[in-house]
């Protein structure tokens, strides 16, 4: 193993996953490419969604790829940071909303 789990150079090797299982890789990349084509959403909107999701799942490869992707599509720093805040708000909200569950339990157990 390398000294670190993540190597930025590995991002360029993403396609190499086909080496161990070509058919599924082919299907995945075909699907992946179709997803990011312009459709009901623009390619620009999709890049911004991908950037937000990348932060939610905290994937360094995805953050690298979609930071570049967003810049290439003409998005600016403020727009990109707002997308990250959307991800953070949903993540934070997801924790906080479970506070209701905690409250329910506490109230049930308490006199």
């Amino acid at each position: 193993m390398e000294n670190t789990y993540y190597d930025p150079a590995d991002l360029k090797k993403f396609g190499d996953i086909a080496e161990f299982e070509p058919e599924l890789a082919k299907k995945f990349f075909s699907y992946y490419n179709s997803v990011f084509e312009e459709g009901a959403l623009t390619a620009r909107e999709k890049a911004l969604i991908a950037l937000a999701v990348s932060h939610t799942i905290q994937c360094p490869y995805c953050i690298d790829a979609y930071s570049v992707g967003c810049l290439e599509k003409g998005l600016d720093e403020a727009q990109m940071m707002e997308a990250v805040h959307v991800a953070a708000a949903i993540r934070g909200g997801a924790s906080l909303v479970h506070g209701v569950q905690m409250m329910n339990k506490v109230k049930k157990l308490s006199m």
Binding site: T42, A43, R44, L71, E72, K73, G74, D76
Partner: protein, 350 residues
């Protein structure tokens, strides 16, 4: 204001040093294929010209701005300016070659003291289309330039202007403090005299860093919407250009540690479909001394045309130009990446 590499006596100000950087390092030892090898691998032998359609003339390297990405290394202290004799030679050759379009660039071409004389001579020569690449802020640089929009209108020039982004922060970071606000004022001046409608006003977008431009049509839609909504400005087309690793953009790439990744990105993004539409095939570039190049980028790297009659415009025939092989280098990857890039924007529809 930033200073030119030449003014700073930077090693990188030398075209031969830049050619060394571009030809060695990454492009030796098989790490990355040289542009010529990539062409061959993709089924192209030699790059040959098509009919000569655009006669691009660099009127000099003097400019009122010192943009960080400038491939010309232009700036206020650059003194290289085309003299009237060279302009007259250009007019005579344009007549002889029957070229329909003349494309004037710089520096700021309007700063050439004979700019208006040259336009009137080109008009007399019956040139079908004259393009002026204006940086916009020149209109506000001194009182003597304030009537330029009117002058452009009278001469029905096609105006192509750089506006790298539709917000002040990104534009100013690349082109200098206050450039965005001045550009907006200048665009309003152009709109007021009829540009952006019947008179053609095109804008040029180029990335504000070490990344490639996205889809030209999508960028154009966004630029049109934002400029209209926020500033009541209209324009015709947006050209998305790739930054080429020459002069100040090369300096930026090296200083910021992005050079290797950027060159790899350009090579990985090589698009064979962009080769046919390369601007060096239908364009020649003439420098302020009357020397001829396959494009403005080759001009900056001092890679002159190779013809049977040399590289001086005075000696060159149309036949010799048609028979030449186009001179290429590793910087050419900038014009074949993704959707392709030329002075007229993308060369492949995405």
């Amino acid at each position: 204001m930033a200073q030119t590499l030449k003014h700073l006596n930077a090693t990188l100000a030398s075209p031969s040093y830049q050619n060394d950087v571009l030809n060695n390092g990454l492009f030796t030892g098989g790490k990355l294929p040289r542009f010529k090898e990539m062409l061959k691998k993709s089924g192209f032998q030699q790059l040959k010209p098509t009919d000569l359609e655009i006669f691009q003339i660099n009127l000099g390297y003097m400019c009122n701005q010192t943009c960080k990405h400038c491939h010309v290394d232009a700036g206020p202290e650059r003194k290289e300016i085309m003299e009237r004799e060279v302009m007259d030679l250009c007019v005579s050759k344009i007549r002889e070659f029957g070229v329909p379009t003349v494309d004037l660039t710089g520096g700021a071409p309007e700063m050439n003291p004979n700019f208006r004389y040259f336009i009137s001579e080109l008009r007399k020569a019956g040139v079908k289309e004259i393009i002026v690449r204006s940086n916009l802020t020149i209109f506000l640089a001194s009182a003597s330039y304030q009537d330029l929009p009117e002058f452009f209108r009278e001469n029905r020039l096609r105006v192509v202007s750089s506006l790298p982004y539709f917000s002040a922060s990104k534009t100013d970071r690349q082109r200098g403090n206050g450039v965005f606000d001045k550009s907006i004022k200048a665009l309003r001046m152009l709109n007021e005299v009829g540009y952006g409608d019947d008179l053609i006003l095109d804008l040029v977008y180029n990335p504000g860093g070490a990344f490639l431009p996205g889809d030209q049509k999508e960028l154009e839609r966004t630029f049109k919407r934002v400029l209209k909504d926020n500033h009541d400005i209209t324009f015709n087309q947006l050209f998305a250009l790739t930054n080429l690793p020459i002069n100040r953009f090369l300096d930026y790439l090296i200083a910021s540690g992005n050079y290797e990744d950027y060159m790899e990105k350009l090579v990985e993004s090589f698009n064979p479909a962009a080769v046919d539409g390369l601007m060096c095939r239908n364009t020649i570039s003439v420098d302020y001394t009357g020397k001829v190049y396959d494009c403005d980028f080759n001009q900056m790297l001092q890679l002159g045309v190779v013809t049977s009659s040399g590289m001086n415009l005075a000696d060159i025939s149309l036949q010799a130009l048609k028979q030449r092989a186009i001179v290429t280098g590793q910087h050419c990857y900038g014009c074949t990446a993704g959707a392709g890039s030329s002075c007229q924007g993308s060369t492949v529809s995405q």
